[in-house]
Symmetry: C2
Subunit: 137 residues, 2 copies
DNA sequence: ATAATGCCGACTCTATTGGTTGGGATTCGC
DNA sequence: GCGAATCCCAACCAATAGAGTCGGCATTAT
């Protein structure tokens, strides 16, 4: 149960973009250098984020990446979900009958709680919050 | 970011033990059958739980496993930690200088929050809570 | 002695992670 | 049009972890 580097890097990159939102796109090498992320790897990460509609890219000279939405409209949970898949920790939490013992399974209580704790924590912070660092502990 | 089967199984087994605490040890095959867990795999899981001091085993005929402490004294977090390693999701959360950019890193705020949300959710429930199912949603 | 049980080490198979490499396709400035 | 900067993409690779399995040994009640 560990956050992948992919996800760490991705969030850092998004925060970087949020903090350098001057209207013109930021080239990948700049982000990579600024955040010490291996450039080719970052490229794959940004591809995912683009597919998820979180960043938009412009090609060609003086191209680069920008946030697709205002930073205040991007929750950290969006970023994590785009990179890590659905936040749900265990398959059986949405009761779709996948687990035969679902109703008699006391453990589900735990996973359900955990799920909502995680979503709460991640969806309650936006990129803007992070750039302002105005998050209460 | 997904809970391993190991961990799912382990928690189920612990709940089973908590619910069948009649003073005499419960043999592994019984747990395995009752919870539909492949027996050899469960064996490895119980080994970890024993090393962590959460269950105790008695060998020989009519041996088996028992909780090492009363169910009310075992938090779910204890079980998960024993099976999944430390709950911390990202290396840099305890500030041990491992990450050079630690103080300027806005993302840490997120991971720290997430960390405490997770510990809160998992350490706030004990095995007894689960057997009684008296957990508020 | 035997059977039931736990203990343990070695093994396989698969998917994921964390990358790298190499080549395209676009677009700007000249 | 040319070249440089940039994004786009597919293929590849090594290491690790997850999920089990297998076979044998140690212990103990009967």
């Amino acid at each position: 149960m560990r956050i992948s580097s992919r996800c760490e890097y991705g969030l850092r990159a998004m925060v970087y973009l949020a903090g350098h939102d001057s209207g013109r796109p930021v080239p990948l090498p700049e982000i990579a250098a600024g955040e010490s992320i291996p450039a080719p790897f970052l490229e794959r990460i940004l591809a995912r984020l683009r597919e998820a509609g979180l960043v938009k890219a412009t090609r060609g000279v003086s191209g680069g990446y920008q946030l697709a939405r205002p930073a205040a409209d991007v929750a950290v949970g969006d970023v994590v979900t785009a990179l890590e898949g659905p936040l749900s920790l265990v398959g059986c939490v949405p009761d779709d009958g996948a687990c035969a013992r679902a109703d008699s399974c006391a453990s589900r209580i735990v996973w359900r709680r955990l799920d909502s704790a995680i979503s709460g924590a991640l969806n309650g912070i936006t990129l803007e919050d992070l750039t302002r660092e105005a998050v209460s502990p």
